[in-house]
């Protein structure tokens, strides 16, 4: 079994979030992060600035004249969109690496993360949830624990697979049994280390088992639904396949039916394609 110390070392070994991201994260908790705040943060980051400008002036944006200033560009795209893109771009390097333990090729986890981010945000909007602005980030980072756990899963893969196949454990139950930690638990530790808002930590911690919460949390439900649909349609699917438990009470709580799941699947696929066009999948290092 992996020791707690090994796991903490794995978390420590993750690169810290870039300064720009950290500052953006600090205002993510504010529903109405102002244009000035975002401009102030991004203007010091040359790569980000040029990305935002490129985005505005790309053929698909439909803007007829050239946009030259960052302020104008952010005004055009909307602060929320720029914020989401900035977080996605900055975590791209980390999320794009190959994850051997989960059979995820380079780029696969990034695609999955962006799809879940887009999906979580869309679901939150559909359900008119409060604090919906947190959900893109929560969705994007929902599987961050896999980055830490991947090599441990690789080492113990045969045993994890045996528990999933023969004993019908879910993948997180098998991770927990064999390694002492699931990728949800490790992900929540990472998010705490990064000082992300508590609501985001909770989404990461319970994205496969919202039924473990004594009091249901609508934000967790949204990330659960998005990540579940994403697994089903196989965007960035890996070694864990669909070996997770279904929780129908989430559907009941929000008055959703099977048709809604199919619509979510459709929205997620087109949302991912749009995001890919905008950002291009960042190359892994």
């Amino acid at each position: 079994m992996t020791t707690a110390i090994e796991m903490i070392e794995g978390i420590d070994a993750l690169p810290p979030l870039p300064g720009t991201t950290q500052r953006l994260m600090a205002i993510v908790g504010e529903p109405n992060g102002s244009l000035d705040d975002v401009v102030d943060i991004i203007k010091h980051d040359q790569a980000m600035t040029s990305q935002v400008l490129k985005l505005c002036n790309s053929a698909s944006s439909g803007v007829s004249r050239k946009i030259g200033s960052l302020r104008e560009a952010i005004g055009f795209l909307g602060t929320k969109k720029v914020f989401d893109l900035a977080i996605a771009a900055h975590t791209g390097g980390m999320l794009s690496k190959q994850q051997v333990g989960y059979d995820l090729e380079a780029g696969a986890m990034w695609r999955q993360s962006v799809a879940v981010a887009v999906g979580s945000a869309a679901i939150a909007k559909h359900l008119r949830l409060q604090d919906a602005h947190l959900l893109f980030t929560a969705g994007l980072l929902h599987d961050i624990g896999k980055v830490v756990l991947s090599e441990h899963v690789a080492e113990s893969y045969a045993e994890i697979l045996r528990l999933v196949t023969d004993e019908k454990l879910s993948f997180i139950e098998a991770e927990h049994r064999v390694l002492g930690f699931s990728h949800e638990e490790v992900g929540a530790l990472v998010a705490e280390r990064w000082q992300l808002p508590e609501a985001i930590v909770r989404c990461i911690r319970y994205h496969h088992d919202p039924f473990s919460l004594a009091v249901p949390d609508p934000l967790v439900d949204a990330v659960y639904l998005a990540s579940t649909v994403c697994l089903m349609i196989g965007i960035g699917g890996g070694a864990d396949g669909l070996s997770y438990r279904a929780d129908q009470s989430v559907l009941d709580r929000h008055g959703l039916d099977e048709r809604d799941l199919e619509l979510i699947a459709m929205q997620m696929l087109s949302g991912l394609q749009e995001a890919e066009l905008f950002m291009q999948a960042p190359a892994s290092e």
Partner: protein, 158 residues
């Protein structure tokens, strides 16, 4: 040469040097067709059962749905000269989350839709590997008609 078929996409080719591959089928279904005389092959990766969900989307992207994608796949092969009676049809995917009787059952519905369409058109399935909770990668070698599936790092023939 390897041609990758994305989610909600398809490809048909007479190129006998090509192999068509689609990655990580979960609840989606992969349909491989191959004309044994002509050696024309096609692969579809559809995501949802019924185009009635979003007719406009289906027009733009027929391969997203069983009801539009399966006819489109066969039509394209017929246009290249393939004949129904010479086609070998192989199916994979349609996985489910754990808990069989759940309402997250897109996989099951995808499979039922396919069976209906093929039955109506008198098309026989040569081989299939569907259901369970695994993810499958499906590959068709157009030169030989060989179809392989990879799950949990193990490759097997379908």
């Amino acid at each position: 040469m390897e041609l990758i078929v994305d989610i909600a996409d398809m490809a048909v080719t007479p190129d006998t040097n090509a192999s068509l591959v689609t990655y990580s089928l979960g609840s989606c279904i992969g349909v491989s067709i191959w004309d044994r005389s002509l050696r024309v092959g096609g692969l579809l990766h559809y995501m949802l059962p019924n185009a009635g969900l979003a007719p406009e989307k289906a027009e733009e992207r027929p391969a997203m749905f069983a009801t539009t994608g399966i006819p489109a796949l066969f039509r394209e092969a017929f246009e290249l000269g393939a004949k129904k009676e010479q086609l070998s049809v192989r199916i994979a995917g349609g996985s489910q989350l754990m808990d069989d009787n759940n309402r997250f059952n897109i996989g099951r519905k995808n499979y039922v839709a396919l069976r209906k369409i093929l039955f109506k058109n008198g098309i026989r399935i040569a081989a299939e590997d569907v259901g369970g909770s695994i993810s499958r990668t499906m590959r068709l070698d157009v030169g030989t008609g060989r179809v392989t599936l990879t799950s949990n790092r193990i490759e097997r023939e379908l």
